[in-house]
Symmetry: C2
Subunit: 485 residues, 2 copies
């Protein structure tokens, strides 16, 4: 693909658009190992911004980072029955090391519950050692048949929180607290509205008592599970003998949680805000919030516009991530095209006339066509750009909320209407569910739609649905249905 080829449009083929945009925007490259992606500097810079924000939120809620090994003995994975059943088919296994066959094969972690709890069990003696609130930033490996950059890769980067508590309610609260932290991050930083709620038993994390999730609606009207938080009950505590002594001297098993988000979030960001021109980044997660494109013909002009660009950069440096694109051998137009494709929220053009007039041209990535291009005096630019970025952040969030509202329905007449919708536009459908897994399965077979979550109260309909979408029996729950990644 040449750099200035147009992308396939989203309406024509969303999957092709996605595959093209992740490469054209310089986010990823493929690697010689099937299903493993290379995260290029521009993509990794987005991940670093995500990490920094999430890490701050985790620490503010009392969590500490640690690091546990990449490998676990097969026998450790085997100790929690549901967990091994869920993960064993996806593992990569080291059988040889140091030139010899290993006595016991080592599994590359697909998640770290079975790595962490056998060790941390020794850190916990009494109730005074609880809660244990850990997080780790790490790579994990799950062997996937069909992979797509960010959305599903064999190796991916993530954070995984792991906590232990003295009582069940505290663990439940922790799982809920971290779900709320994820929601805050997704809405405030990613500008990606989510529906929170609980997964049905068939969609639970392998080994969890309850799984909570954040679900977002992508621009192709498919849902993306963007983060999950698990109340693990005492399943892992029993499997790995994680006990503590109570104040009264009794020995009890702890209550655990785990929760994670991954580089998949970058996929969510792309499919929430991207358009036919390419990526569109909310300012809080944009590696460059403002790109200055200097325009010159003569060497003399070159010097004066670059000097002005540098002054403006320095003036904004405290609060704004600025990049001056001074590449030679590239027209200003080609640069505009490039930075639009890379989703930079704000572009500043500085030409010789702008130097004379003490002004700049500001162009926003997302404003409407008539309002895109503005001439602004230098002083005003310095004063207002930080505010403009805040407004742009709010704007892309409002737009994402508008789009989600437009593509969410409640109170469909019957199952036929639901099937028609899933064959057509897709989107979020709130409808009743009897609680029977067979109905879940039938809907999935008929339409590929699944229950994303049983939504939390604030997302539920004012009039709770009375009947199951599928069987028409009395509804136990309101469910959010959608086709999903």
């Amino acid at each position: 693909m040449t750099k200035d080829r147009r992308l396939t449009s989203q309406s024509e083929d969303f999957a092709a658009w996605y595959t093209e945009v992740v490469q054209a925007a310089g986010l990823v490259d493929y690697s010689p190992v099937r299903g493993c992606m290379v995260i290029k500097p521009y993509g990794y810079a987005i991940w670093e911004l995500m990490q920094s924000a999430l890490d701050g939120l985790f620490k503010a809620t009392g969590h500490q980072n640690a690091y546990f090994p990449l490998f676990l003995p097969q026998s450790a994975l085997d100790r929690e029955a549901e967990h091994v059943e869920g993960f064993a088919p996806q593992t990569a296994v080291v059988t040889h090391a140091g030139g010899e066959e290993l006595e016991e094969p080592l599994v590359v972690r697909p998640t770290s519950e079975a790595v962490i709890w056998p060790v941390v069990a020794n850190w916990i003696q009494s109730y005074r050692d609880l809660p244990v609130l850990l997080n780790q930033w790490a790579n994990v490996v799950r062997w996937e048949l069909r992979t797509r950059p960010f959305l599903r890769t064999t190796e991916f980067l993530w954070q995984e929180g792991h906590t232990a508590h003295a009582i069940a309610e505290e663990a439940r609260e922790e799982a809920r607290r971290m779900l709320a932290v994820y929601r805050e991050f997704m809405e405030e930083w990613m500008a990606m509205p989510v529906v929170t709620g609980e997964k049905t038993p068939s969609e639970r994390f392998a080994g969890a008592e309850r799984t909570f999730a954040c679900e977002a609606l992508m621009k192709d009207n498919k849902a993306l599970q963007a983060g999950t938080s698990h109340d693990l009950g005492q399943n892992f505590a029993r499997a790995f003998e994680v006990q503590y002594q109570t104040e009264e001297g009794r020995h009890e098993f702890v209550w655990n949680t785990s929760w994670g988000v991954s580089t998949r979030l970058i996929g969510g960001l792309i499919m929430t805000h991207g358009d036919d021109q390419g990526l569109s980044l909310p300012p809080r997660l944009a590696p460059y919030q403002l790109v200055i494109v200097p325009i010159w013909k003569s060497d003399e002009q070159r010097q004066s516009v670059l000097e002005k660009a540098e002054l403006l950069r320095a003036g904004l440096a405290g609060g704004v991530r600025v990049h001056i694109d001074d590449r030679e051998n590239m027209t200003p137009g080609a640069k505009y095209f490039d930075w639009e494709r890379r989703g930079v929220p704000l572009r500043m053009e500085v030409g010789p006339r702008d130097v004379e007039k003490s002004q700049v041209v500001l162009v926003s990535r997302t404003a409407s066509a008539e309002d895109r291009k503005r001439f602004v005096g230098d002083a005003e630019a310095l004063a207002t750009i930080p505010e403009m970025l805040i407004d742009l952040q709010a704007g892309v969030r409002r737009e994402a909320e508008r789009r989600r509202a437009e593509n969410s329905v409640r109170g469909l007449a019957d199952y036929g209407e639901f099937k028609a919708r899933m064959e057509g536009s897709g989107g979020f459908v709130y409808a009743g569910w009897c609680g029977d897994e067979r109905c879940e399965q039938k809907v999935k077979q008929d339409t590929k739609a699944t229950i994303r979550v049983l939504p939390d109260p604030e997302f539920r309909s004012e009039e709770p649905p009375e009947r199951c979408l599928c069987c028409g029996e009395s509804a136990d729950h309101e469910a959010l249905w959608a086709k999903a990644y």
Copy 2:
């Protein structure tokens, strides 16, 4: 080991002291997988401070972070002959994944040259795409027979820089620049003086043209290789066909470098500053620079000392990492002991009398006995603690420099004196070398000492040594000899 057991003293058994202190200070734990360590929150917090400082230095020198896969096909590793010879015996190999045997085994990266260059080759067309200046924070695996926490573990965390340049001199300069960055970090942050220089051919990185290193002297008078930077010439460019088109239209191979430091640095930090009381952290890398220990008997006292502690913490929060140790069921003395063991640079004691008198007690981890404990008024404490930390940083560095000077010798009379020294106190010895690998090997067999580096000019003796330490022939180089980790 109980929490308040005394450590084995350094003079009695340094290796035992090290093994005890890494656990007693809460830095690491062992894992069920041989040779893999768990980095506990307190140890990981040190690593985060190191990462943050280094990452800033890398970005300030124009490098961008990226992420490349954990796995590489065996065939990729095989493409650079010396490289595979050096690393193949140490690799961990995935042979099965997703429940099936793989067609081609995958190697878990021991370092990433062979992962990165086949991919990045495609990012480089012309001279305008150069230099490529990449860094990655990652885990790597090298199967080691004898492992010790931080110093040599099967899996370890590190950063690896990888760069490509149009001309040989630029690559050489880059390798040198990053060596200087490492030295700056080790001296300014770690307060650990290092000798820089070039490795002899027998100690080069597998596949490098030249390897440069930073060598530090530990408290047991053994050397620690703390960081290396490699001028790779065109070896990897040829193996992986990394070419660019020159301004004149010719196709040329690029010139590469790579450079890395790892969690091994934490081992260096421990063995540079630790003492029989435990860890001793330079303030710039201390997770807590100041710990406030509130002292109370009654509940009323408890409230007033905690209030005061909180006020002081808030007053210092902008510039100092403060922790209030309000643990119940632990005497102030036990807390002092604990934080000394963990190496906290500055302790503040706040008791009921200190509340009355608007004063605090300040105790530094490293000041001499008569100067350790000072009564300071509240306002003065707030005003002077940031400065005190700067002074403490400078003090531990001076002490490390003094110790290194005391344990470095030049101009030994003959090989007999060298052997006696290596059997006795050890330390750094500057002496001549004829340039013959056989002398290097003989010295190693006789004394276990090796050439750490051929030191850079500023470290060399005023009078260059005339004779080879070992064979007595004319010396081609001055070499720094020591027993090493």
